[in-house]
């Protein structure tokens, strides 16, 4: 087990730094996680994405892929690339306090 400190709070993470305990996340932590990867402000679209990810994770048992966020969550792929530049799938999972998505598409 690895523990790291985010905003003066101890959280459990995997070897890369993704949170491993669903319940240790809250919205104030998301703001700090986002800042740590260069997203200085979370817009309404960011929050909509994060909320979909967390809700979907509970029902499906795994982090949704980009396509699922677009098809089921209704957030267009182009927008996801703007909100979480370069590597949207991994970045949004990180900010949402979830593991990396495992699906290919």
């Amino acid at each position: 087990m690895t523990v790291t400190t985010v905003a003066n709070r101890d959280v459990h993470v995997d070897h890369e730094g993704f949170l491993t305990e669903y319940t240790e996340w809250d919205e104030s932590l998301a703001v700090e996680l986002a800042k740590a990867i260069g997203i200085d402000e979370l817009s309404e679209d960011h929050w909509r994405t994060i909320k979909f990810l967390r809700e979907d994770y509970v029902t499906q048992g795994e982090t949704p892929t980009l396509r699922r966020v677009s098809v089921v969550g209704g957030i267009p792929t182009k927008l996801l690339f703007t909100l979480f530049p370069s590597k949207p799938a991994k970045k949004m999972a990180y900010v949402a306090g979830l593991p990396k998505p495992v699906g290919c598409v």
Partner: protein, 169 residues
Amino acid sequence: MTTTQTIPTLVPDFGDETNRKICFICSKGTLDMAYPALIMANAALSEGVECHLFFTFWGMDMINKKTMDDLKFTILGNPAAHMWMGLGGVPGMTAMATQQMKKRIADLGVPEVPEFLQLLADSGAHLWACKMSVDMMGLTKEDMFDEVEDIINAADFIEVADGAQVIFI
């Protein structure tokens, strides 16, 4: 016993500074040979890698509006189907095999070819059509999927592929 390791600051390295670039040459027009490039290109894009797909010869079927939604899979001449080879020649067998494969793909939540290409374009992929194939098949830009950027010749492709990893399918 579980040991706990404490690391003061641990943030994933998303490697945003990557200048990696990947090019797929899509030369096949069968359903089973369309997917490898689509899936790998999608993975590359979500990893922040610049991505180009160059469609040539039978690969033109993947971007031809008339055929892109109607690619087929046949067991004929395909020993990996593990069936009696002659069965592939039976009328209706290709349609059945195609339907089966499409169902398996859909069950995995993977889109059909036109939707998949749109997903790639929305993710920033560059789609190119091969000039010689276009001329040979008597096609125009209007016959092609709207997201195809341009019709380019072999020399243009070599320029596009400068510094890229090139995968021929």
